[in-house]
Amino acid sequence: MTKQRDRRQSAKAPKQIYLDYQATTPTDPRVVEAMTPFFVEHFGNPHSVQHGFGSYAIAAVERARAQVAELIGAEAREIVFTSGATESNNLAIKGAARFHKARRPHLVTLATEHKCVLESCRRMEREGLEVTYLPVRDNGLVDMARLAEVVTERTALVSIMAVNNEIGVIQPIAEIGALCRERGAYFHTDAAQAAGKIPLDVQAMSIDLLSISGHKLYGPMGIGALYVRRRPRVRLEPLFDGGGQERGLRSGTLPAPLCVGLGKACEIAREEMAAEAARLTRLRERLREALVSRLPGVRINGALRARLPGNLNLSFEDVDGEDLIDAMSGLAVSSGSACTSASVEPSYVLRALGLPAELAAASVRVGIGRFTTDAEIEAAIEQITAAVSRLRAAGPRAAE
């Protein structure tokens, strides 16, 4: 036991400023508080309908389902709990593609989607489907005219994320939804970054499938949801089978505490979204304006207007990318998306905007969120300015 405790202590959070809210968000203490009783006292299996322990858990899970639904204007029974957005995206894409492949053997997505969307599409290509990976405009937004050209009566599903995880751009979801509805294709949107941050309404936006992640909206890790439209009914093939939970779409014991946590996170987000968006936009604009005015050769990646309040993605000219993150060691920021940052390749999202490899490598994603303070933004301004100035003064490293 002592050995374990020592290890945990050694894993304490470092003294960095956390500015990586698009990678993961800290769990809101109110969410932890809501979940805790379901870990400890009310631990029943929500499928044990035969006794009180189970019934208590069932009721809590159903309340949580309604909270998730309300955030996006859905009905509770249209919400399927999953283990996270990766699973939701896999289920939406593979599930729809496999169900409809005989009559509609075509999928459309964007080149800048999250890896789990792109990899799911590639998997479908290996299963014989045709996939169109649409390029984006240099501001990161979809080209609606090109989208209209490629979505046909052979298209089963269009998967376009609501908000990009690296550059924060908000796609014209309602327009895409209307187009898909007109062509009879399902519209799936990966809303892992958008849910709880910007208003979403599955009816007004004609969304058929929508993925949510718990840990991107101050909820717990290990839980997500997929909205599956009932009218007109969206048909999917499940990814895995078993006890037939979640209307047969997702077997496995539901983790009641995590469902409760996700529900609470959605409720908080819905109530506080407007005020939080205003505050985060102000912090982001403070950061952007300060950096642009103090440093020459700063490029903002992705459209600024249609953008997540808490996201800024910057490229610095004449700076070596590999040195950049090291030079800002006091800041926990990301150089690419978290899932690809273990490899050193420059971000494929930035490359899709037309950035040359060098500039894409010299980029930083700053993710601002619920617990970011004004003082932290001021500290970030100082550290980024100092780091970039220092690297530039040291001169171009690779003139060879």
Binding site: D20, G242, G252, C339
Partner: protein
């Protein structure tokens, strides 16, 4: 009213305090383990510690552990990803195995609940295609422990891989991957006092597994998706305790055996399932012909005692158990209930159960002469 007594550990076990404490700390940490900054590295270390703890519970190498969202996903990943088209699964498997392999050939059980090894040998010899054999280590309803070493020997002799669903066994009896020699082994955290929403698949060396979920390349490409840090940490902590307290099994076995003795005294007509085979020490599955399972479970629930009829799964409808059917006890399946114990179970809990059950039994005996109380 008295606090309710929980005797349904095979459905889910309450979180062990050690797991709760470890998770409470993890909930306070922000960080995506794929991030390279300090926050990301800190949570990455937590995952690797938990991986070692889970590996130690089953005598595996940490590199063989792939974290999943639970037992159902682990079973589906094993059966769907192993690359074998021919699947042989035992008739007593959990639904997550049976439904993941709808076209599988079904391996029969003996009346004692154990798989028919002679049938396995014949089935393997009858078809030369490379197969996967899936046999659970211990059954969730009856607790019957399968002769896995023999299954593995027969399967490997014919070039077949073996998947073992050890969800119910792990933490209740010693599970040693090297001894079992299975190629794939499924685990679930919440069945051994860890949290719900996390499990693992142990992947033996040389097994090339195709992932079920594609994405960011986590778990060395075998399971995409941001890792559930508090869940994995809680799983690790629960596995560490479960490993230390395997002698708890002896205590639970004694409680269970005493309870079965008393039950037999109260109602000599009670039939216990799986007692002819090695059984998990915490599980008792029994029936009294003429006394429906639903009646028992409802009466016990009213008395504040939680047990179950069959396994806790999807719709809430109590279906006659496919496990008992496979043990040629179909006619009694509608009367069978399961009492399962765990780390917080005490003598007093079983007394509560026995009191409630014998009260029901006496009431029934007055209206249904078929159910005759002992003299």
């Amino acid at each position: 009213m008295q606090q309710a007594v929980y005797l349904d550990y095979n459905a889910t076990a309450p979180l062990r305090p050690e797991a709760a404490a470890a998770m409470a700390e993890a909930h306070g940490l922000a960080g995506n383990p794929s991030s390279v900054h300090g926050f990301g590295r800190a949570v990455r270390r937590l995952i690797e510690t938990a991986r070692e703890q889970v590996a130690a519970l089953v005598g595996a190498d940490p590199a063989q552990i792939v974290f999943t969202s639970g037992g159902t996903e682990s079973n589906n990943l094993a059966l769907g990803g192993c690359g074998r088209k021919r699947l042989l699964v035992s008739a007593g498997e959990h639904d997550s195995v049976l439904r993941a392999a709808p076209n599988a050939e079904i391996l029969p059980l003996h009346a004692d609940g154990r798989v028919d090894l002679a049938a396995l040998e014949e089935m393997l010899a009858a078809d030369p295609r490379p197969a996967l054999v899936s046999v659970m280590l211990a059954n969730n309803e009856t607790g019957v422990i399968q002769p896995l070493a023999e299954v593995v020997a027969l399967a490997h002799a014919q070039g077949a891989l073996v998947h073992c669903d050890a969800v119910q066994a792990a933490g209740k009896i010693a599970v040693a991957m090297p001894h079992l020699a299975a190629d794939l082994l499924s685990l679930s955290a919440h069945k051994l006092g860890g949290p719900t929403g996390v499990g693992a698949l142990v992947i033996g060396d040389g097994v090339d597994l195709r992932p079920l979920l594609q994405g960011g390349g986590q778990e060395r490409g075998r399971r995409a998706g941001t890792e559930n840090i508090p869940g994995i940490v809680g799983f690790g902590a629960a596995a560490a305790v479960a490993r230390e307290v395997l002698d708890e099994s002896a205590r639970l076995g004694a409680l269970r055996d005493a309870m079965e003795r008393r039950l037999g005294e109260i109602a000599p007509g009670v039939i216990f399932f799986g007692t002819e085979a090695p059984r998990l020490p915490n599980t008792s599955c029994f029936a009294l012909p003429g006394l429906p399972a639903e009646t028992q479970v409802m009466a016990l629930d009213l008395a504040g005692v939680a047990v179950s009829a069959g396994s806790a799964c999807s719709s809430g409808k109590v279906r006659p158990s496919h496990v008992l059917r496979a043990m040629a006890a179909e006619d009694m399946a509608a009367c069978a209930i399961r009492v399962s114990l765990g780390w917080a179970s005490e003598t007093s809990h079983l007394e509560r159960f026995l009191d409630a059950w014998s009260a029901l039994y006496s009431r029934r005996a007055q209206v249904a002469p078929a159910v005759t109380p002992a003299a």
